[in-house]
Symmetry: D2
Subunit: 347 residues, 4 copies
């Protein structure tokens, strides 16, 4: 008989935490021992989300109870709150996967500039691992603190990784035009996510100033071995789930589209969750929704050798909860796909 | 090691057949050995539905190959075409689950009146079993030919079964006002499912004349032990998936809403897939989408003792493919839930 | 040169008030002299709703300023707040059109039962006129206080008026199954109108207990000359605008569907805003959105002589702001269509 | 009494032609004398689009009848078919506004390369005028043949016109990432516009190869006085109407964002239909839907001086039918706003 991993979720009332719970309840190797949510203490998860009726009797408890009971803790909290929990889990020899931004940025200065907080426990940040498995799998294996990547960031990084590694970009300046479904804005109410406003609408926001920008640049620069700058513009899409990033890069003249395709095929040939579509096909968020997959398609504006990369993921799964579970699988030596094998609905 | 059941799908390019394939690919006890689709012969399933990329290499073959290779055949065909296949499968000692209407109606006359075809193989129809597990589980166990219920029908029957059995209805006349997502109309193109027309729209169709009416009445009459008449009006809802049936019944004066609730609780207490919501809650298709669950809520217009039952399912799952797999599970002595344990997304 | 009517709106930040403003800005005979909104005092309308950029410089002022400046006041306020303004306008010889429920119900007792307030100024309510032009046009001409009908109510009353008048109903019990777009819930934020929840969703609410019920029954009973009871169930539809009411009535045996059609044609032949579709067609909210029109289609479940009436309006226009302007046109002797001649978009 | 202009529409069954009709029916100075549609000959417009019930009795006639009766002809036809009609209208001293691409491109070679047809009547093309009023108003006044701009093109050109004219761009290479509602794909059915596919979806198409590219480049190059290259990627948005173009340009170092704002304000200060939003606001298609307005917002990625321009229009109105009517107004010396003064709905 398998010994189940004891998992817990801090902040399990929001969308990301709820999605982690949903995935873990279907995970063959996991027992969810506790979930917390300050505002819903003592309430059943299924009262908040009736999808869970008959599927779990879990009741929201205090954060501390989650840390006490679980061996792996998923944290889905407002920025600035995860450090103290990471300190505790590390001291207890437990593992933490943080879905927020507190363990993603290498530079405290950059973190402070974009998020307004300091690194109070600097030592922790030296051990943090950026949880993008396709790039950092080996480091994730031994990590105790994972900074789970941002949703937009994941779509852009997976879309560019092979190109950056091959240094096939002619310029260090990249444009990433992204669009996300509304779950990306979370469970909190706002004028901009009120149905009559959002429905039949579409618009950019935080133009050129979104917090995912430094995270994208940090990781791209590492891949490319030199500084990469990204002009990143997110848009709000009137759908529930999914991100499409349309990325524009000047390609070095010596590379053809076919060369690039080979580079991508090669880079991702062993990756279960990343699929490079045949040349001529276009990636479409429809076909990855609800799954942990990333679909990538490659295109060229031949007239001036601009490479256009389309990269699409489900923002709640590969962009958040699914990737967190994928990280857990790696950290615990499980099958990396465990709990993440949903064949996506096509309609 | 488990011996896998060899399953095949005839008509696997349409929505229902595709959804059966999707579920079976995640089923722990099944090997999908062949799928057919006349119009896509030789094509990969993943070319038609890119969600299947990297998940299956299946290629559409001839119908006959499906019958030859599989032990259980799912048929998702235009009405009138399943009889010949059922004859064959029976002769070969195989099982067939028909997702169309050819094996649902007891009376050839009624079938002819609403569908325009005859029963050419009358003997087959004597052995057909109406595949609503919550009502007919025992018969399904030994069946070789299953008529898988219609989507609207499933929502209405599950919504009324306990009431009918308890004979708590004061009148034999019931009104069922249903609304379905657009996948119910299938993959075929039509003016009414063209996005700019369907989006931001809502309207009834086939008012009082939908083919699911005789099927509803046949089964309700059996449950109630007397003739039941239904005025059934379906509506097209601008969502992809899900059916909500709002059902109006005159309740016998001696029954209170609490009595009815007890009757429902009792009737469904052992049913994994049917959930009666606490009084005061309202069933919402949001919370059953993509799952094989049915949520039911009960309400009363006290002023004239009209019971209002709200019953919601996913038309593609409990209303079609999921229920078909549930039937297969029962027929093969598997865990009835196998392959159907998705915890539904809440957003 | 035309002398323009001076109109003002109290509560012009909410959806209904904003829609009145939008229509009046396009009205050839009206000058909007002031609009108020407590929470947005001093703000430009166009800051709240950028559709108004370059179309009006109006700034939200105090309620009193609206009453002082305008000859006709549209009030779109929470229930219970309109009486004091109506008292004032009457004293000043001005006219008020109330879009809330304060002047709709004849009986103070019924008002108190459903809304929890009393009639403090009973004399006012003796002079209130129920503003459904197709039924009460003559009374509206001379009215000074209009209770503008509820949105659901309008759709049900127009759908039943000819039948009630002809006393062709076999029973006094009617079922009205209605569905409304989300603007009906107003501008206020709520979990149930948060995009990820509402989108791809559909569910009934306030089942058998919605406040529009007594208003429907009051008016139907007057039309029918005897008490009429309605079981009314509203549903939330994932579209912005529009109501479809599907109404079920037992028809007297001596009436055929063709008879009913003639009765409706005759009743509405001179009505610009109400259109009875040819038998065989189905009313669809798509084709009345953004307009002041009501489309009605008639259907029969022949098997037990149940008449099914489908009545559709735009909840914000014929169900609120448009009807209010129609009432104003009648009160001021203008062309009843003035400002309301938009040909609806078909897509 | 005004003498009404006699207008006719060739190809009035498709979306663009139908929208021209809808606008013209509300135009104070126009009488629509005839509309044609080959596939619907003899049918009422209101049978095809029930929004027109009671608003027009027009019946689709032959193309020739439109030319015979009307003084101004709107043509909404498949590419390659308008030339013969333009020849006729010119000979008859009538005016033609072509909503297709046949009279947009200056170079026959470019037209042939992208559309596959030749210019059979070369003289006509010497007299064609590109119908973008904000740029070409004077030429439009005297034109007899108008090539009405493409929908995407309009959004991009209006978004860039002041910048191009001021030569404030540091590079001749521009990226235009656009997204359009589904009406842009027209009335014809396709797998990609089937509701269950399009809904909850989003993807680019014709990446770097859309026919609007040469049209954009032709006009931008004229404005800028030198060759401008555009990498243009359109996306399909799950809404009915509206285009948002997010445009990326390298700005000359000597220009600040405030400078650019002044240039735009100045360029459009007298334009009724174009509105530059205050700095800090973001253009949103919500607020221009159904209107002939264009909203533009300006943003800067300060880190490398990339200007980001957001330009949004309703693809069916300013992107097609509304602009065509605006052109007609100019050609006939009418108020340029006539028939185009709808205040857009905000919800």
């Amino acid at each position: 008989m398998t010994i189940l991993i004891k998992a817990g979720i801090i902040g399990a009332s929001g969308y990301a935490g709820c999605e982690v719970l949903r995935i873990l309840l279907m995970h063959p190797d996991v027992d969810v021992v506790a979930v917390s949510a300050r505002s819903y203490l003592g309430k059943k998860v299924s009262d908040l989300y009736p999808s869970f009726y008959q599927r779990t009797d879990l009741v929201y408890v205090e954060d501390q109870e989650v840390i006490d009971k679980a061996d792996v803790i998923f944290a889905s909290l407002p920025n600035g709150l995860s450090e103290k929990y990471a300190k505790q889990t590390e001291a207890l020899g437990k593992k933490i996967i943080d879905l927020g931004a507190d363990f993603r940025l290498d530079s405290e200065e950059v973190y402070h500039q974009w998020y307004g907080f300091n690194y109070n426990e600097k030592a922790l940040h030296e051990r943090q691992v950026y949880g993008l498995p396709e790039v950092n799998r080996d480091k994730i294996k031994d990590a105790t603190i994972i900074g789970n990547p941002g949703c937009y960031v994941t779509s852009v990084l997976l879309g560019l990784y092979p190109l950056m590694k091959a240094k096939a970009n002619a310029s260090q300046k990249i444009i990433a035009n992204s669009a996300s479904g509304v779950t990306g804005a979370g469970k909190g109410l706002s004028d901009d996510t009120h149905f009559p406003k959002t429905n039949e609408s579409y618009h950019p926001y935080k133009v050129g100033a979104h917090r995912h920008t430094p995270e994208i640049e940090q990781e791209l620069s590492k891949m490319n071995g030199q500084d990469v700058r990204v002009t990143f513009v997110p848009h709000l899409l009137p759908v529930n789930r999914g991100i499409v990033s349309t990325i524009y890069v000047d390609l070095k003249p010596e590379f053809t589209l076919e060369d690039v395709y080979s580079i991508y095929e090669d880079a991702y040939k062993d990756e279960y969750f990343v699929h490079v579509l045949p040349l001529g096909k276009v990636a479409d968020l429809k076909f990855i929704q609800y799954t942990n997959h990333c679909h990538i398609s490659l295109h060229m504006d031949e007239r001036d050798h601009t490479l256009i990369i389309v990269s699409t993921i489900d923002n709640m799964v590969k962009g958040a909860a699914g990737q967190a579970v994928q990280n857990m699988n790696i950290m615990f030596g499980l099958d990396e796909k465990a709990g993440l094998t949903l064949v996506g609905p096509s309609f």
